[in-house]
């Protein structure tokens, strides 16, 4: 795809056969508009996510990233346009195939649950209201904890874990109901850099081994360029949506972040330093 094609001002055209050949679409947004208090926070969004890909959504704070996730999950209805999740209108039914990790855990650190209790919560919907948790469910939850490397912490109070460990436990909770799509809102928040790297490696292995798709919202361009297969650059409208590699060649990041780029995470993967026309001190 050419750089010019990548820089369609009003987002991606509805059909871009070159990057979506024959694969199943898990998320398909078509000309979605969302208004809050009379202001458009999402404008003409075309977004697709296929099976087995990691899609990074980057953009500045207030650019509509969390709103976009809520539309995907069916928690917000678009004012115009349509979104589809697993080929259906996003809602209770289609959400059953989604594992969700919020930006911040709303739980207090002192909340009296163990790590295993938290993972079991991922099964409550399937269990239904009157049934109790049984050994088979505990077994299932322990398997997921093992998968994210947290099995030995199963009996610990959840609040005693570090941010990175809590995140792994929440991934285990999301995975225990066998989702096909993980939706993560700012997964780097409150996690140290070593923990982050492990975490994204884990996501990559889920994609490679289970063909689980991941949509993650982040303001950290470094993480997205390293781990995402495709990227969508969002500041109310989508400025780029396509493979991660070509994205680094465009100036879409500048359109979206403007002069604020300097305040972004700066490490060895710093996108600005990779740019031909970087203005970095």
């Amino acid at each position: 795809m050419t750089v010019a094609a990548a820089l369609q001002p009003s987002g991606l055209p509805p059909s871009t056969p070159d990057i979506y050949p024959d694969t199943q679409l898990l998320v398909d947004m078509s000309d979605v508009w969302v208004k809050f208090d009379g202001k458009w926070v999402l404008k003409s969004i075309y977004l697709k996510c296929t099976q087995g890909e990691i899609l990074g959504i980057v953009g500045p704070n207030g650019g509509g990233k969390s709103t976009l996730l809520k539309v995907i999950l069916g928690l917000i209805q678009p004012d115009k346009g349509a979104a589809q999740l697993f080929g259906q209108k996003p809602g209770k039914q289609s959400r059953l195939n989604v594992g969700y990790l919020p930006q911040v855990s709303h739980a207090e650190r002192s909340f009296p649950v163990t790590v295993l209790d938290v993972v079991l919560m991922g099964l409550y919907q399937q269990l239904g209201i009157f049934s109790r948790v049984r050994t088979t469910h505990r077994q299932k939850a322990l398997e997921q904890l093992d998968r994210v490397g947290m099995k030995e912490h199963a009996a610990k109070p959840f609040g005693k874990l570090s941010g990175g460990q809590q995140q792994r436990v929440q991934i285990a909770r999301a995975l225990v109901s066998s989702p096909r799509l993980l939706v993560l809102d700012e997964p780097s928040t409150g996690v140290d850099s070593v923990g982050q790297e492990d975490f994204y490696e884990l996501l990559a292995s889920l994609r490679d081994n289970q063909r689980i798709s991941v949509i993650m919202v982040s303001h950290d361009i470094g993480v997205v360029t390293t781990y995402a297969d495709r990227v969508a650059c969002l500041n109310r409208e989508i400025h780029y949506h396509g493979d991660t590699g070509p994205w680094a060649e465009t100036d879409a990041y500048q359109k979206v972040f403007g002069k604020n780029l300097k305040v972004m995470v700066h490490d060895a993967r710093c996108i600005s330093c990779m740019m031909r026309h970087a203005h970095h001190d």
Partner: protein, 267 residues
Amino acid sequence: MIEWIHLEFMKNALAAGMMLSVVLAVVSCFVVLRRFSFIGVGVAHSAFGGVALGALLGISPTLSAIVFAVAVANAIGVVGNQKRLSADTAIGIFFSLAMALGVIFIGMSNSYNVDLFGYLFGNILAITHQDLVVIALLGGLVLVSIWMFFKEFMFVAFDSEVAHVSGIPVRFLDHFFLSILSLTVVISMKVVGIILVSALLVIPGAAAAQITDRYVPMFAVAVAVALVSTVGGLWISYYANLASGATIVTLASLLFFISFGIGKLKK
């Protein structure tokens, strides 16, 4: 030192207090975990409007208080969920409205048949066998309801957003909880009073949360705190000639500060 237990009214008060301790303690754990403390205060005060309405209409104050408190609690739930209004604003408005209506109803009824002061501050002398039956039945209903939805209530309290996305009916459960909270308030009115019941909707759970990090011990400690406060409070109030509801709440608060201290030392 035990002759007080043989007094008929004390027997009733103790039986009522012990049953209520279990119900209030269990409910208070969820009030604390779901961060509904202020809603508890609001719902408790709005029960006053219901009692006054009962006096005006000449019907059972317990019945009118149940209807009134459940209605106000659910109204708080609906209005507090709006984007432009925070829950504490909704509570602030509804509970003062309910209290104001209560005062108006009293003025209109010109009736002094109902011991309103007793409902506000508790009157253990007034607890009848019929009250004990009501407490046992409705208290049992509250406990069974919590048992039925226990894991869902825990998930919603832990992270309502994730619970909602995963398909748990969060709004229904919140309204259901507010309704059983209202029932708990109404059955506790006569023993501790409307003004002070909100304390017992928070303190046992809050005290337990200081010293436990698992939920089974949390519920156990909360029940113990409530039982010690209620039985101890009734005993002290009898010998020191103090108001029973106030003594119970003071003792419960003392237990809270002790567990707060223990919690700090543990860290």
